[in-house]
Symmetry: C2
Subunit: 461 residues, 2 copies
């Protein structure tokens, strides 16, 4: 009987000080990353997907069918039996001396991932194979671990996870174009199934507010959609959003939660994915880990929108050139303005707060000045905005007047009613999960953070 | 300065033996469940959504504005300050003696949840308010905890969580009708955005198989859609699915993982939600907790489909009446047949394995008998099928012949290619998350397990 091992648990056991020298015969399954040999001795870099690292398999004339093993090619699936041998004098702490190397799945000659180094653009065209490439081994493992960080953060704090619906009858947030849902082969494809027009959600916030008023602290975490043909590095048609909502909480409590959440997520990933983060820091964005560690030790700055505008105006006066150079109170900040504030002025994560009400959503709470709303955007160096939050308007009359003016009351009476039935102060925020992943990894195109990215004219897989 | 407390952490601290008698002034926010008084003394059952339990607030002539407090109605949002007083002689271990009770949000007279007992059908009509009702406090907290159980199970075992896409160009699984996605106001609404027809996913399996061949063990957990107008208690148009996939794994390994996963989830929920589970066991399905505990201690039975058919035929011969009474090899089992096997024959969770290939999906691995495929359905008492799994066909030629015959090769060349590029034995399964929740809670209508259920003609919120 041989012991079945994998790369992850073997490295973990080693790190925990376990004695691995007496395992007897071991058996491991994986794929050959490389295979090189010198006639007498050969080396297969065995990768099994359980860890960023590989294990070196050494074969020799003692190994069955040396010649066949020597012909195993990159990406072939193999089963190796042999002995785990400690190699304290080498870079890797152990290797496997193979008794047998069995080819389980060969690789046909048209395999597109032969080349050692390939561009991210090329890899994007083969979405179903790119998770095998180093960069995407790192990206998608961090994506998974980051998702777990999100759940752990909120569940440890007693938040209730709510699956808000993907299909919705209202697109009242007005967050841009929506996808419409229909059923083919019916006389009225848009309305036949649900009896009313249906679209894909742009946000679960309105739905989750109802749950905050029952469970106090809740969050959503699920897919969200935009039908915008914006062909930028930061936009996709389908992405995941995290939307927490907290009853009895104001804008300050909101910002405390955002800061704790972002720091928790960074710390969690740094701790669980040291190899992947070292890879990003070396190959994707130099010094990424140091920057993230610095963020952990910095209280996030809070800055009034009004003060931000003054700083931008001063910058222009002092000769700083923005593409959009006409800075005035009331404007919606462009990414270049946000990045100037967080990168040049504060040099760290920055909450911009209390925005003009005209440029923000109807559900945000109006401040006493009558001009601004209790909103906050979290801006981070290198990425710009990654979180948007606000205290919600809990006053029935003020909210109703706003919604009537916008003409979106119909279909949202229930949302208004929440203010009549034991309503209270509440606040929440939204984190674009894919953008958070871009921020943490340094990957600069959202298409390289999503397993099968969806953008206009891209639906190959 | 008063200490802000909530119901959950206060009960947790008490359970952990903390001394709560010296907290000084405490402050708590929540909603009045009930308010009764006798002129001299009054009691508010304060519920804050953080726990299934409430805290009793006692007010008296020592409390500010006794008369105003006495008029606070059910569901009103309140802030209470006072002292936490231990009550070892009472049912509840402590109560709050109020100094002040401040009304934060009143309740208008048309509040639909006045009545103490309301039917699940009635509550379904007010989806935005029903999370306040006891049953849904229990259901939706268990839903949240169960989702965390799923993530914990897979992440502890090193599985990588993959967000497979919701929008897809293929509906090749053939799992029923799909919703089509379009963009209004364009000449060709069905194809203009993506350049090809797009629909909502019915399964992430094909997409996630590609990731299993890179990461070995992976899982999806996300929304899935069916455009079927089946108006049953077990069908919804939108529901969440868990789809794990494991490389180098056969049907036996698949079943081991399913059994471990189901048991882990049950154990996790029983441990984290004792109050909620006690509620279900008393009010929704008598003895639910005992049945679940029994499942934890029982190895799941494995039964050949062929043997299942024989047992059903014998049952018919012995006078058992099924609605569909003509039992023959090759048939697709109805729910009544599945339940007979798991409830009457085995009296416990049962894997039915090796189904006729004609009634199962094209990607399942053909057994050597040429007639069956390496598939398993997990049947459980009271619910029927809750998991379906299979070993996948890894042999290129056999899979291609099957797909060519079905005519679904086009657009899925990449899926076939996985068999040419270091392919290997692999297996996976799918769990309907909402059905698993039904099974654990005893709730018998899927509409009562989803925050905002989507079925045909139901899109009110």
């Amino acid at each position: 009987m041989s012991t079945i091992i994998d790369v992850r648990t073997t490295y973990e056991a080693f790190a925990n000080g376990a004695d691995l020298s007496n395992l007897g015969e071991v058996e491991i399954y994986g794929w050959a990353r490389t295979n090189r040999n010198s006639g007498q001795i050969g080396f297969i870099e065995l990768h099994d997907g359980t860890a960023f690292k590989s294990i070196q398999v050494v074969y020799s004339n003692d190994t069955d069918n040396y010649d066949a093993v020597a012909h195993i090619t990159t990406a072939a699936a193999v089963k190796v039996t042999g002995t785990l041998v400690m190699t304290p004098e080498m870079k890797q702490p152990f290797e496997i001396h193979a008794k047998t190397v069995e080819l389980l799945g060969d690789v046909s000659e048209d395999y597109p991932l032969q080349k050692k180094r390939t561009s991210l653009e090329f890899l994007r065209e083969i979405a179903y194979l790119r998770p095998r490439a180093n960069t995407f081994q790192a990206v998608f493992r961090v994506r998974s671990v980051l998702a777990m960080a999100v759940h752990s953060f909120f569940q440890e704090r007693g938040f209730v996870y709510v699956h808000t619906p993907e299909i919705t009858g209202n697109d009242a947030e007005g967050a841009g174009s929506v996808f419409t849902i229909s059923t083919e082969g019916t006389p009225h494809p848009y309305t036949d199934f649900f009896g009313t027009k249906a679209s894909l959600t742009v946000s679960g916030q309105l739905h989750v507010e109802a749950f905050a008023l029952a469970f106090k602290d809740v969050y959503t975490f699920g897919p969200t959609f935009r039908a915008e043909k914006s062909n930028t590095k930061r936009h996709a048609s389908e992405f995941w959003m995290i939307e927490p909502e907290m009853a009895f909480t104001d804008l300050n409590g909101d910002m405390e939660c955002i800061e704790a959440c972002i720091k928790y997520c960074i710390r969690y990933v740094l701790e669980k994915c040291p190899d992947e983060m070292a890879f990003f820091s070396t190959w994707i964005e130099k010094g990424r880990m140091d920057q993230l560690n610095a963020v952990l030790n910095t209280p996030f700055t809070r800055m009034e929108y009004t003060d931000g505008i003054k700083l931008l105006q001063e910058a222009v006066k002092n000769g700083h050139k923005f593409d959009y150079n006409k800075i005035e109170w009331g404007m919606d900040l462009q990414s270049e303005h946000e990045r100037y504030l967080t990168e040049e002025v504060v040099k760290g994560p920055t909450f911009l707060i209390n925005y003009p009400k005209e440029i923000k959503a109807f559900y945000m709470r109006e401040n006493d000045d009558g001009k601004t709303v209790a909103a906050c955007d979290l801006l981070v160096p290198g990425e710009g905005e990654i979180v948007g939050g606000s205290q919600r308007e809990e006053r029935y009359d003020i909210l109703k007047a706003k919604m009537d003016k916008l003409g979106n009351t119909q279909g949202l009476e229930w949302y208004l009613n929440l203010r009549k039935y034991g309503g209270c102060k509440h606040a929440g925020f939204g984190i674009g999960f894919d953008r958070l992943l871009m921020y943490i990894t340094g990957i600069d195109n959202i298409r390289d953070t999503e397993p099968y990215p969806r953008t206009s004219n891209a639906l190959k897989y």
